[in-house]
């Protein structure tokens, strides 16, 4: 499980995740990911194109980080999820907690909204 943070502008990070966001993957990146994404005062656009599996612990990581950002008035937006991952998001109604869109352009549009 890996992630790469790139600053898009002064207020927004793009976070590209790749690998299996399962129990082991989530545990392996939890501390670093939370520090890099949730501890900074920036929106996070999370590109999930490279994530082929997401378990409940993966969801928990995304939800926790999104909640921290929301409290600070920042948004976490997920985009480009693969079909299997999108199915998991659908089951737990993730879109009621975190914006879930298809493209980066849509993700940027959510920030402007």
């Amino acid at each position: 499980m890996e992630y790469k943070v790139t600053a898009l502008d002064g207020a927004t990070n793009r976070v590209a995740m790749s690998g299996r966001l399962d129990a082991l993957g989530a545990e392996a990146i939890e501390l670093g990911f939370t520090a890099a994404v949730a501890s900074v005062d920036r929106h996070a656009l999370v590109n999930l194109a490279g994530v082929d599996f997401c378990s409940s612990l993966g969801l928990r990581l995304l939800i926790s980080v999104a909640r921290v950002l929301q409290r600070r008035g920042r948004l976490l937006v997920l985009y480009a999820a693969q079909p299997a991952v999108a199915e998991v998001f659908e089951t737990i109604a993730l879109d009621q907690m975190i914006p879930v869109v298809v493209t980066e352009a849509e993700a940027l549009a959510r920030l402007a909204a």
Partner: protein, 365 residues
């Protein structure tokens, strides 16, 4: 034992163990003179050991060379290479003459330092042996809360519960609310370990008292009581249904849980209800749906541990696989959970399940 035997054993063993399918975790426990042992997880790549700064692990002692040795985590396992040091590297007391693949438990000696190599399935490495005893107690307690099977009457029930090594926070329950209404639920905490089991036990005990006839009210009540911010960051999914045997109707709602499957003479339907998990959204609402219960209806509920295995070997996985694995409707109730479990186990492959597996089957004759 002759030295040659020891060497060949050390070289052979890792290759055999690489056949194990599960991902492995690697760690070193560093014993430095006069210091408490320190555990160092190992990632892929090389770890340079030596006396001077610039090494990945600095071992400050005169007997250690400036650039003493390197440990490389490769596909062959963890390999120790001496970089031409003055005093050499010992593995289990024997000075190495060439790069060597280390067996789990190997003890590396470099000057006054000792490094113990640990390897195992990554998840298990992280949960120490001491924790296993506590988990076992938690598992026994949870199992004691599960309802007994029901062999006869207007609702019959059978189940299988297979806790994972680390306890995945699955639980389920069912009970009569009054003379005609029967409530059932399955839950799955998003986490592993004692904390997840404690949360599952709290919810089960609460539902023994508070299980009500309105699925929306029950889930909203739980959501108000178990917000993740106050639960150590834990949330859980649940499917909750109430069968009215007089009206032959089933009312249900779900919080982040995949659908239950209802089989009747007319076929099979997925009883889906979309809403967030309990604890994830403070003001969440839970829409309620209804299904009719014709004679000989069978309801199957489970946790996602049944179909979400990390390394499936055969066929499909995900919720779509579940319907394919259901045993024929005519399978006797008592054998149905085991039959479904057998199919799921086959698909999970040699590494087995990595989460709790719960299967509850109810018959409404």
């Amino acid at each position: 034992m002759p030295v040659e035997d020891t060497d060949s054993t050390l070289m052979r063993r890792p290759a055999e163990e690489l056949l194990a399918a599960e991902p492995l975790g690697h760690a070193l426990v560093l014993h430095a003179p006069g210091e408490a042992p320190r555990r160092l997880p190992l990632g892929p790549g090389a770890l340079r050991l030596g006396r001077v700064a610039g090494n990945d692990l600095v071992l400050p002692a005169p007997e250690v060379s400036r650039n003493h040795a390197v440990l490389s985590l490769t596909e062959a396992g963890l390999v120790l290479t001496d970089l031409g040091s003055t005093n050499g590297c010992l593995v289990d007391g024997v000075r190495i003459a060439a790069p060597i693949a280390l067996s789990p438990g190997a003890r590396i000696g470099i000057g006054p330092f000792r490094l113990d190599y640990q390897r195992g399935p990554r998840a298990e490495m992280d949960r120490a042996a001491a924790e296993a005893r506590d988990l076992d107690r938690a598992r026994r307690y949870l199992q004691a809360l599960l309802p007994p099977p029901i062999e006869s009457g207007p609702v019959q029930a059978a189940w299988r519960f297979l806790p994972s090594a680390s306890l995945g926070g699955d639980a389920f329950g069912y009970r009569w609310l009054d003379a005609t209404r029967f409530a059932v639920h399955v839950m799955d905490v998003a986490g592993h370990g004692t904390d997840s089991a404690l949360l599952a036990a709290s919810v089960m005990n609460l539902l023994r008292e508070r299980a009500g006839p309105d699925p929306a009210a029950v889930l909203a009540g739980l959501n108000a009581s178990f917000q993740m911010d106050q639960q150590g960051g834990l949330f859980f999914t649940m499917w909750y249904g109430v069968a009215d045997l007089a009206a032959r109707r089933l009312r249900f709602a779900a919080a982040g849980h995949h659908p239950a499957l209802l089989e009747t003479a007319g076929g099979r339907v997925a009883l889906a209800a979309k809403a967030p998990p309990i604890g994830a959204v403070p003001a969440a609402t839970y829409p309620v749906f209804e299904a009719t219960l014709p004679p000989a209806a069978r309801l199957t509920l489970c946790s996602d541990g049944v179909f979400e295995t990390e390394q499936p070997i055969a066929g499909r996985r995900g919720f779509a696989a579940l319907a394919e694995w259901l045993p024929p409707h005519t399978t006797p109730l008592a054998a149905a959970p085991e039959a479904l479990l057998a199919r799921a186990r086959e698909a999970a492959g040699p590494s087995g399940f990595d989460d709790d597996v719960s299967i509850v089957v109810l018959d409404f004759p």
